[in-house]
Amino acid sequence: MPKTLFEKIWDLHVVVEQKNGPTLLYVDRHLVHEVTSPQAFDGLRMNKRNVRRPDLTFATMDHNVPTSDRSLPIIDQISAKQIKVLEKNCKDFDIELFDINSPNQGIVHVIGPELGITLPGTTIVCGDSHTSTHGAFGALAFGIGTSDVEHVLATQCIWMEKPKTFEIKIEGKRKNEHAVTAKDIILSIIRHIGTAGGAGTVIEYTGETISDLTMEQRMTICNMSIEGGARAGLVAPDEKTFSYLKGRKYIPKNYDELVDHWSENLKSDPGAQFDKIFTLHVDTISPQVSWGTNPAMTTDVTSIVPFPEEYAKGNQDEEKAAIRALQYMDLKPGTPITDISVDRVFIGSCTNSRLDDLIEASKIVKGKKVSSKVRAMIVPGSQLVKKQAEELGLDKIFKEANFEWRESGCSMCLGMNPDILVAGERCASTSNRNFEGRQGAGGRTHLVSPVMAAAAALAGHFVDIRELDLN
C-alpha cells in the first residue's frame, strides 16, 4: 500500500502497538523550556525516576526571559525563579542547557533547526504547541502537555492515538513574493479551514509553491499548523532541507549517509491516500491582516473589517464570536483595513524572527523612520540570528529608523516577560495568536507578516505593501 510521509515516520517509531488504544512511539528529540517543565521534573523526583536519555534532551530558556540588557539581573522574581529551577533541573538530570548567556540561546523552535538538533524523519516533542515548526524539515514534531513532558523524560516514549492525514496543496506562483509571504499563505489557509479545520490530523504541505519556499518560510507555515487545529505540519525534505542542516553543530556524524536514506524514503508515495485534502492557489492571494481574536478572523489588506452577519454566514455561534471580537478589538464593521492605526509593532516570535524575516523587513525600513506615534521592536529569534543580522548591518538599519533592537526570546508573542501591551494598545505583530489578552491584558493584536509589520511601523497604519518597492 502506498504510504504518506506521515505514515512512514510513524511506522518507523512504533515501540508498542495495541489493537484498541494508543501506540507507544519513540521520541528522537525532546526540547525543554522553563515554563512547561518544572512540574515534570518534580514528578520525576517524587517518584524517584531518572531522565532516560539526557543525550536526546535539550533545554533552553525563552518564554519569560527579558529581551533587554542581559548583564542586568532579572527584575521579575517569579520569572527569575523559573529560570533558576530550569538550571537546577538540567544540572541534576545532566541535560544540555542553552542558558540565558549562551550564544546558542533562543526560541526553542528557532534554535532546534539552527543547531541541527531538528532532523528529517525524526520524532520531536516539546511542551509547546508550536513544536509543529520543526515539521518543515520532514520531522514529525508536535506539542505536548507537562504530564507528557514528564513521561518522555522518564521513558523517551509517548502514547499517541494515530492522527488522520490532511494534505494541503499550495499551488501557483505569487505575483509579488516580497509582499505576499509565507505568513500570508498560512493565514489564508487558516482563514479557509478554520481554527479547528485540522483537528485530529497531521498536515502535509505539498505543491509547487512549497518547493519554491526557503526553509525559513516553510517553518513559518508549519509553525502555524496548530492555529488550524492540527497536531503537526510536515513538508517532505529536499535539497534545500539537507543543505540548510549540513555542517550544523549537532547533526550526526553519518549525516551524508542519512541524507541518502532520507532523500530516498522521506516522501509520500504516489497514490498515497490522505483523509482530507485542501488546495490553496496563491496566484491571487493578498497580504493578510487579522481583524479579530482568533487567527481565522483574517482578511485581505485591501478589504474592510467584516460585518459579523456576513462573516458568520448563518452560523450563530460564529456571529456572536465576531461581535465579541470586534468589541474587544474596538473596530467598526466596514472600516478599511488600511485605515487601522497601530500603537505598537512587534517583529519576532517562533513564527517570524529568523534572518530571512529580518532581511525582508529591513528592505523597506532602510533610510526611513518609524512613525512618531508608534513604538516598534525587533526581537531576533536567537542569539545566532541576532549575530548574523548584526554582521549584515541590519541592527543599524532598524536602530536608525528608531526600532528597538532586543535580545532573543519569545517576548511579546505571549507577554510572559516585561514586553507587553498596555490595555487598549493596538499592535501589528508577526506572532501567531491574536487571542484576547495574549500580548497583555486588554491589548489588541493584528497578525501580519514581517514586511507588513515594518510598513505599519513606518506609516502608523496598515498599507498595501504590494505598492511599495520591495526589491
Partner: protein, 191 residues
C-alpha cells in the same frame, strides 16, 4: 491520580466557542513551579476587572454555580497553547467534567492525565443540557449523563475510560514495556 467517581452537580453554562487556553489561564500566571493554586486564575480576565474585582455578569461569578463541578461549553474548547496549566486551573477550581461539542487535541489529552473527564456531545444534546437548570449526574462507568426526565449517553475511547476509572499513571504502564523500548533503541538509525 484519584480514580474518577460519579459526579452530581449543576453544570456551569459557558456559552462561547473556540475558548483558548490563554483565556482559561492567562500567561501572567504560568510562572508557578507547582501544579496547585491555579484555580484562582481560571478565566481570570473574564472573571475579574483590572482592579481584581469579580465581574458580576460573568457566569462563574453567579453564586448559583459556585460549587459546580461540570463545565458546559462550545466547540473547539481548549485551543491554542499546550499549557497544562489550563487543566490544572479547571481542576483546582473544582471542575471535574467538561462537556463540549469538540475539544482541541492537546487539551483533550491533557485532561485525562489529570483526572478530568472531557465529554464530546453533538450540538443537539448540548443544547438540551444548556436548557437544564437542575443538577445532572455524570456516570463514566455507564457512559451516561442523567438529567431530569432524560438519560444522554456519550462515547469515550475504552483505554481512556479505564485510565480515569482506575486513576492509572501512564509512566508506570509504559515502564512495563522496558524490554520493547530497549529493543527499539538498538534499531534506531538516527543517533
Amino acid at each position: 491520580m484519584e480514580p474518577f467517581k460519579t459526579i452530581k452537580s449543576i453544570a456551569t453554562p459557558l456559552d462561547k466557542v473556540n475558548v483558548d487556553t490563554d483565556q482559561i489561564v492567562p500567561k501572567q500566571f504560568l510562572k508557578l513551579v507547582q501544579k496547585t493554586g491555579f484555580g484562582q486564575y481560571l478565566f481570570y480576565d473574564w472573571r475579574f476587572t483590572t482592579g481584581g474585582l469579580p465581574k458580576e455578569d460573568f457566569i462563574l461569578n453567579n453564586p448559583k454555580y459556585r460549587d459546580s463541578k461540570i463545565l458546559l461549553t462550545g466547540k473547539n474548547f481548549g485551543c491554542g497553547s499546550s499549557r497544562e496549566h489550563a487543566v490544572w486551573a479547571l481542576l483546582d477550581y473544582g471542575f471535574v467534567v467538561v462537556i463540549a461539542p469538540s475539544f482541541a487535541d492537546i487539551f483533550y489529552n491533557n485532561c485525562f492525565k489529570n483526572g478530568i473527564l472531557p465529554i464530546k456531545l453533538d450540538n443537539k444534546k448540548i443544547e438540551s443540557l444548556f436548557k437544564t437548570n437542575s443538577e445532572i449526574e455524570v456516570n463514566l462507568e455507564n457512559q451516561t449523563i442523567i438529567v431530569p426526565n432524560e438519560t444522554i449517553s456519550f462515547d469515550i475511547e475504552g483505554h481512556r475510560k479505564k485510565t480515569l476509572l482506575e486513576g492509572l499513571d501512564d509512566i508506570s504502564i509504559t515502564l512495563q514495556y522496558e524490554d520493547k523500548i530497549l529493543q527499539y533503541e538498538k534499531s534506531r538509525i538516527v543517533s
